[in-house]
Amino acid sequence: MNPPIFIIIMLTVISGTMIVVTTSHWLLVWIGFEMNLLAIIPILMKKYNPRAMEAATKYFLTQAAASMILMMWIIINLLHSGQWTVLKDLNPMASIMMTTALAMKLGLAPFHFWVPEVTQGISMSSGLILLTWQKIAPLSILYQISSTINPNLILTMSILSVMIGGWGGLNQTQLRKIMAYSSIAHMGWMTAIMMYSPTMMILNLTIYIIMTLTTFMLFMHNSTTTTASLSQTWNKTPLITSLILVLMMSLGGLPPLSGFIPKWMIIQELTKNELIMMPTLLAMTALLNLYFYMRLTYTTALTMFPSNNSMKMKWRFECTKKMTFLPPLVVMSTMLLPLAPMLSILD
């Protein structure tokens, strides 16, 4: 894509999300979502093959339908309350339907079907933006309406998302689909805690974005999109092999890595609110996620995956891709746990 056009379009993606996050008027929320959606379509369609076009079309249709539902219930909320302020309490029915619309935008179960298909059809860098930046705007609106969300709805969607993220990712070998199911599961964790402590949702979002950013950048560095080609990393860039090992364990939520902080905090907040079965189920189904991350680690770092002899003697070229900020990101996605006591500043 032409560089000036690319810059303008990225600027619009960023400003669309910023408008949603910073506004206090429901109409501007909808405008921000639509600006974001419109501008990200050419980013999803960077490669002009039919698969990318199909993925961009699917993304557009689901997100536009969600925006329409959101707009309808914004207007019905205006009918009942007479005002457009976002932070004022919502009509209960409007709250349910707006939560549904935002769940469609996030890819929570049972509206998760578009996530693997869209993520698989687009390039790795577009998938990166889709799974990290695009989650910020809907979660910010859920944060603002968190006091009036119906618990039955959000907790059902959250536990279903973690389950589907876990079981769905088990049969995948394509890395983008694995990351898509990982995103579904993490969204489930985030929405579980939304009603009880929205701050922990922000914590989970931050750590999830850092880890997913790092994972995608490591995959882009290797130019791999499948498990089989990831398993040849030991020959191309041995350093990345060990980084993937630690990163996958962090994504799975194992202590002593940073991925453990949000899970620990969420389970703590849920138990403080006298829910016992919910965090048990969440923690047990998160183990399914851990299984497929461990499978990636196993084939990449712990064994030499079967391949023919010519693949074992590759030339080692210097990486020409611009991996800005990758070393600090790796450090942040694995070594933040000792800083967890700093969370006491929230009290």
Partner: protein
């Protein structure tokens, strides 16, 4: 009939939406859009928004739909599907119209109807002289406010329109 004009217009509005949602060829869908635009203008006029209603005709029908009509004429197929061409489109059209007529009859018969929110039969569609809007037309004041207090909104809208054009050109570039 004039007391219930908004109700009648709203019903025909939904029927014209059904006419293009039943997916005939785009040229026939464009006809449905023209009718919908005209009726929408009528509904807005009944609420006192004379300027905005005529804006619908001018900008929407006279600008956007004309461009749509020309592009559809350029990209048309040799045998376009009308509403009676195949059973699928006809069935969807009839289903939509039937659903709307049944809803309209239900609203007219019952005293108080609660679908998403309560409304008292067709009485809610009659425009009474509620509230004191003073000597100024609210709609003209709203438009004036957009261009004075709503500078940020104008900037956002203008930027979105520019981005719309850029995105369309990027998407249809194809290389």
């Amino acid at each position: 009939m004039m007391t219930y004009i908004v109700f009648i217009l709203s019903t025909v509005f939904v029927v014209s939406f059904v006419s293009f949602s039943s997916k005939p060829s785009p040229i026939y869908g464009g006809f449905g859009l023209i009718v919908a635009g005209g009726i929408g203008c009528g509904i807005v006029l009944n609420f006192g928004g004379s300027f905005l209603g005529l804006m619908v005709f001018l900008i929407y029908l006279g600008g956007m739909l004309v461009v749509f009509g020309y592009t559809t004429a350029m990209a048309t197929e040799p045998y376009p599907e009308a509403w009676t061409s195949n059973k699928a489109v006809l069935a969807m059209f009839i289903t939509g119209v039937l659903a709307e007529l049944l809803t309209a009859c239900y609203i007219l018969k019952e005293d108080e109807v609660e679908v998403v929110f309560k409304f008292n039969g067709a009485g809610d569609w009659v425009i009474y002289d509620t509230g004191d809007s003073g000597f100024f037309s609210e709609e003209a004041m709203g438009i004036a406010a957009l261009y004075s207090y709503g500078t940020w909104l104008v900037v956002v809208n203008g930027w979105s329109l520019l981005i719309g054009v850029l995105v369309i050109m990027e998407v249809t570039r194809g290389n």
